[in-house]
């Protein structure tokens, strides 16, 4: 029975499931490092998912859909940036407004454009880049079957996400942008007094998180599901936030934490298949990612330190 669960497939699905979480979590990392809390990741992801799907439905081009998902993510996150940075609104409340707005706008437009609530027509999706055959016998054949199964069967955004995680990690610690980003989340006035524009820096960070969360939405619809369903993000934005915290506000940490959640998700799906054998209602498997999130948060918080100025609007004097 264990052999039915522990398969290359399980780990492959961990990477797949981790991808939208990781993209949003890295977005959260960048945003919070600049000093802006972003609980709007959920709504931004949903917006990206919807407009990505709509773009594919309109043009038939999945890559155009990916682009539009990111653009939509940037546009809706601009509202959050404006509220948090310029209007000095409570960032958590502004994020909540955006989550609701995304739910409303996607549902509204769904009915306006497609004439019905629920789920859109299926769209053309992005398939795996490589389609290698897993043949061969013996030990080497087995190894190849695993390597191929786990790492080489994925769609483009899954790989792009790994690259983004590595690049973001490097950039945060080695570039001008990264140093200023880290500084403005800790002590924005110090950054201001050396002549760096905090407002602009935070705007850029929020928009970047919007692009990443939008891309996460594109991954959900254009690579994984193949259609848009209302409220399909189902709390992933919040889990991504937890992954960012668990990853201690670093890009690679966020990715690693997302992998953990992805694995739990993959396991959950695997176990559902076996529900006749172990007789646990499927709802309990569906709860698993959410329970895991709470457990992870409970275990990690005391030791993870958030950027000092996160959530505080920065006010220039006079």
């Amino acid at each position: 029975m264990l052999g039915d669960i522990i398969t290359p497939d399980l780990f492959a699905s961990a990477f797949r499931m981790a991808t939208p979480l990781a993209l949003a979590a890295i977005g959260g990392t960048i945003c919070e490092r600049s000093g802006v809390v972003n609980i709007a990741l959920e709504g931004i992801m949903l917006t990206g998912a919807f407009f990505g799907t709509a773009a594919v439905l309109a043009t038939g081009s999945p890559w155009f859909g990916v682009l539009m998902a990111m653009v939509a993510g940037v546009v809706i996150s601009a509202i959050h940036a404006f509220a948090s940075v310029n209007l000095k609104a409570d960032q958590v409340v502004s994020g909540t407004a955006i989550n609701l707005l995304a739910l409303g706008v996607t549902g509204f437009l769904m009915e306006r454009w497609y004439g019905h609530p629920g789920t859109t027509d299926p769209i053309k999706t992005l398939g795996p880049i490589l389609r290698l055959t897993a043949e061969g016998g013996g030990f080497l054949g087995e190894v190849w079957r695993w390597v191929n199964g786990i790492f080489l069967t994925h769609t483009p955004i899954v790989y792009i996400t790994v690259l983004i995680a590595i690049f973001a990690q490097w950039a945060i610690y080695n570039t001008r942008w990264g140093l200023r980003l880290r500084a403005m989340g800790e002590h924005p006035r110090a950054v201001d007094t050396v002549g760096v524009n905090v407002y602009r820096g935070r705007w850029v960070a929020v928009l970047m998180s919007g692009a990443l969360a939008g891309l996460a939405g594109a991954n959900l619809t254009i690579e994984q599901v193949g259609s848009f369903t209302e409220n399909m993000t189902n709390g992933r934005g919040f889990i991504a936030l937890a992954a960012n915290i668990f990853g201690r506000w670093t890009a690679l940490g966020s990715y690693g934490a997302s992998l953990l959640f992805g694995l739990a998700d993959g396991l959950q799906i695997k176990l559902q298949i076996l529900r006749d054998v172990i007789r646990i209602p499927p709802q309990f498997f569906l709860m698993l990612p959410y329970v895991l999130t709470v457990v992870v948060l409970a275990g990690v918080i005391g030791r993870a330190v958030a950027p000092a100025a996160v959530g505080e609007p920065y006010e220039k004097k006079g």
Binding site: N174, L179, H187, T193
Partner: protein, 520 residues
Amino acid sequence: MPVLELREITKVFPGVIANERVSLELEKGEIVALLGENGAGKTTLMNVVYGLLSADGGEILMDGEPAKIKSPRQAIDHGIGMVHQHFMLVEPLTVTENIVLGREPGRLGVIDFKIARERVIEISQRYGLKIDPDARIEDLSVGMQQRVEILKALFQGARVLILDEPTAVLTPQEVRELFGVVRSLVDEGLSVVFITHKLEEVMAVADRIVVMRDGRVVGETRPEDTDEIGLARMMVGRDVVLRVEKPVSTCGDTVLEVSDLHADDERGLEAVKGVSFSVCGGEVVAVAGVSGNGQTELVDCIVGLRRPTGGTMHLKGKDITHASARSSIEAGVSHIPEDRHRRGLVLEFDLAENLILGDHRTPPYSTRGLLHPKAVTTMARKRIDDYDVRTPSEKVIASNLSGGNQQKLVVAREIGRDPELLVAAQPTRGLDVGAIEFVHRQILDERAEGKAVLLVSLELEEVLSLADRILVMYEGRIVREFTADEADEETLGYYMTGGGGVKLDDDARQAGPIESGGDA
């Protein structure tokens, strides 16, 4: 030609004129002291120069040319650097990262940390400001952090350096070291504006003194043409009582007995390492020390905000070692906290609500969980009268009061409660002369009523003028105890820094008995 010239700078905040037609000239290689009380408009003026605030009138000239300074960036580009009173350092970052922030060397947006580090070392050697370029700011002492700030300004190419109250957090020895640094900077061709409200510093370091009051320049002089009393009069606008007169202490029963107290700080490091002392009724005992030597943790233990890891504390014989903040208040301990905005007041509450904070659970203000608004109002009005809190009504929101009135409110609550022991931590920090005099009088009134007072202060003048006994705290221990007449600033400073760690330099200046009332 002056390197920096301000012409009739005016800055208005809603309801206040912070700067009114202020003019100022700074020559190359000159140290100008900008002297004035808290709220005189010194920092506002310099924030205008540094581009943090925009002036409502007047102009700034650099080397005789009008300079448009609308942002710190432009100020830096004009060669102006500023060391702020609250350091503008990012704690988790390294010294190098902080210094190069905003002007990072490198190509295509990638920082070349090797070059950055070399430049930091180069500048630090050139000006004789030794520093570890790889240390994290949070691990440095306050004096070292200030050094990083100066290096940061130099790295950015400052020709004019503005130091805003640079000595507020330093020991006398560190202050002298800073003066040496300032002198050498000037020798290298820099010009310095030195903002302070401490008269003896002005006399020691300035080439020229510009005195501000109520947003205006009220006088200009040179150290050799004046003395501290003259300066004080110019600064405050009237004669100042420089010493608090107090009758001889009559020590009653022991009120607070602390023995072999140990406590950890937030990071779990031992901060209080076996402290023993007692305070009796009718006595003011002061704890002197450089910030961060365990005073905060000691106070936290006594008022029940921190659990000691060892030792005992007794209040009038009652064991309060493990008392919570609540039972400590109920046992008769009052606390004027160090950080009054954070710990002293709920700024969003009205004055009446603030005045019952801590007493809100006890009659007559509440019984069985129900508040009694009438009793609260009656008490609030009485306290506001008794303690001279300037406000139209007890329903005013606390954040609308001035800093001095807010502190009066805290004092009204804590002393009005009629405690056995008053713990006052930095009770006059940031207050103007009038408010300082008021707080001092209240503390001495408590003493006269036979109450015990434990005063923790970084201001040695305050310690010397109020205390009957002085405990010097260093690295979590009480290293020396003095009676009031045994101690002077130099000796206290000597023991505060580890007694022998720093060589006394007696000819630096005379430690006279006359001290300013400005920050006593």
